[in-house]
Subunit: 270 residues, 2 copies
């Protein structure tokens, strides 16, 4: 029987709410953890964000998101690394155990080049991650995002990258939306083992009317989330289960009611 004890929600899921509102609403609804996106940090003191979370009894499940390492110019790649180092510091200050990485891609650039730049960028962040006690979680993205968001598009590629970097500070965030279609998924989850440090859920809608902003509540689509969860848990994962939904449709609705539906969907379809 599910309960809410492992539920985390991304601030992006209830995008209309600012951080103060998010904290109040999640706490009142019995949601124990929140993954905070960087936009919600703007104009705020990190110590106050931490206090806001503590005051509401909320844990921070992850800081989202770093990455976007590839760039045409070396100076831009260094700027991306510098930005990721700041992101790691932020994660430590707000009490998040990891930074989720959307690894990046440059439209039109060879995916082979982008993947090398991702490996180089990640390697340059490992020392800081270790010093701050923050995991770097590679999130493989659906192949439909290969040209502009991430050149890492399967769990196999994330595992290969982990093999290459060989650091206990580099792990994987597995999102059912990106990975569900892959016939190698169970095999690669076994291969990943304790590299999996994050688990994201939502659902794939048919039809999907927007490549980015038309994700569904768990149970509204075709993904067999309980099966993937069982594979993930057999690999040893017992962390937060993070609800991450980008949806123009849901953002336009009453967010209080939507939050109740998220809880129901979590209890019944995860």
């Amino acid at each position: 029987m599910n309960d809410l004890s492992r539920l985390a929600i991304h601030t992006m899921t209830t995008k209309p709410w600012d951080l103060q509102t998010t904290a109040e609403k999640y706490a009142a609804a019995g949601v124990p953890a929140v993954t905070i996106w960087r936009q919600w940090l703007e104009g705020q003191k990190l110590t106050e964000i931490r206090r806001l979370m503590d005051d509401h009894g909320l844990r921070v499940s992850a800081h989202c998101r770093g990455g976007f390492f590839p760039a045409i110019d070396a100076a831009d790649r260094q700027a991306a690394i510098d930005d990721n180092l700041r992101c790691i510091e932020e994660a430590a200050e707000i009490g998040a155990p990891m930074v989720v990485l959307v690894c990046g891609a440059v439209p039109g650039q060879s995916l082979f080049d982008s993947r090398q730049q991702i490996a180089d960028g990640l390697a340059a962040c490992i020392d800081q991650a270790a010093a701050a006690n923050i995991k770097l979680a590679i999130e493989p993205l659906h192949p439909m995002y290969a040209n502009d968001r991430s050149a890492i598009n399967t769990l196999a590629q994330a595992n290969d990258l982990c093999d290459q970097l060989a650091s206990p500070w580099v792990g994987i965030a597995a999102d059912v939306y990106h990975l569900w279609w892959d016939d190698q998924l169970e095999h690669e989850i076994v291969r990943a083992g304790d590299r999996i440090v994050g688990f994201h859920v939502c659902d794939w809608l048919t039809p999907t009317n927007d490549l980015l902003l038309d994700r569904g509540l768990m149970g509204a689509g075709c993904i067999d989330i309980p099966k993937i969860r069982s594979w993930i848990e057999q690999s040893g994962f017992d962390g937060w289960i993070e609800v991450e939904i980008f949806s123009k449709t849901h953002w336009e609705r009453d967010q209080d009611q939507y939050l109740e539906e998220i809880k129901d969907a979590y209890l019944n379809h995860v």
Copy 2:
């Protein structure tokens, strides 16, 4: 140096044209071959279609499309097999050397079940394909179509299916749009070898505004088509290079001018 001698175009690419117009326009433009979609057969005698092609000096590169084998009910799966048997007959009558297969999926049904139903359906068509001298070309579709169009989403899966069926009448249609993102692509093309009987080109646009109907002309997007073509040809492929573009944008334009742009794009970006 490219010339037009291997260019084929799908009737779906210039969707506004009926088959008579297609034949006249392609012949006048020096396009030597056409892949005919089944919709263009409706209400026509197949012998007349063959004569129309012959009269215009056009070859038929493929018949498009069979497949859609999965279904919840056994009776519906048998109906799909029967329909594919008719499609094989049609291909033989219009002079096409192969039937392109969009293998199918049932929204919400397990992809493992769909894949088994696809294998069973294909197996039931092999004798007829052999008798008619028609290849069955499995077209792996992009993972974003996994829930509703095809549960076969990588070249690796198509190769696995070919291994399983072990028939010289079962081959693969490789479309750059569906496969370009895959880091295993070169490896799987080598593995496929002479199984590759069809090669489709278009381009991936960023942003992509519609999952189905926003494909680009070759050169308008991010796919390194010449590199993929070189891999395909190193595997021994020397057949038609088929331009298959679904695009609301292009369908709304002047089709004569568009046909000239297709030729230019083929000569310069394939």
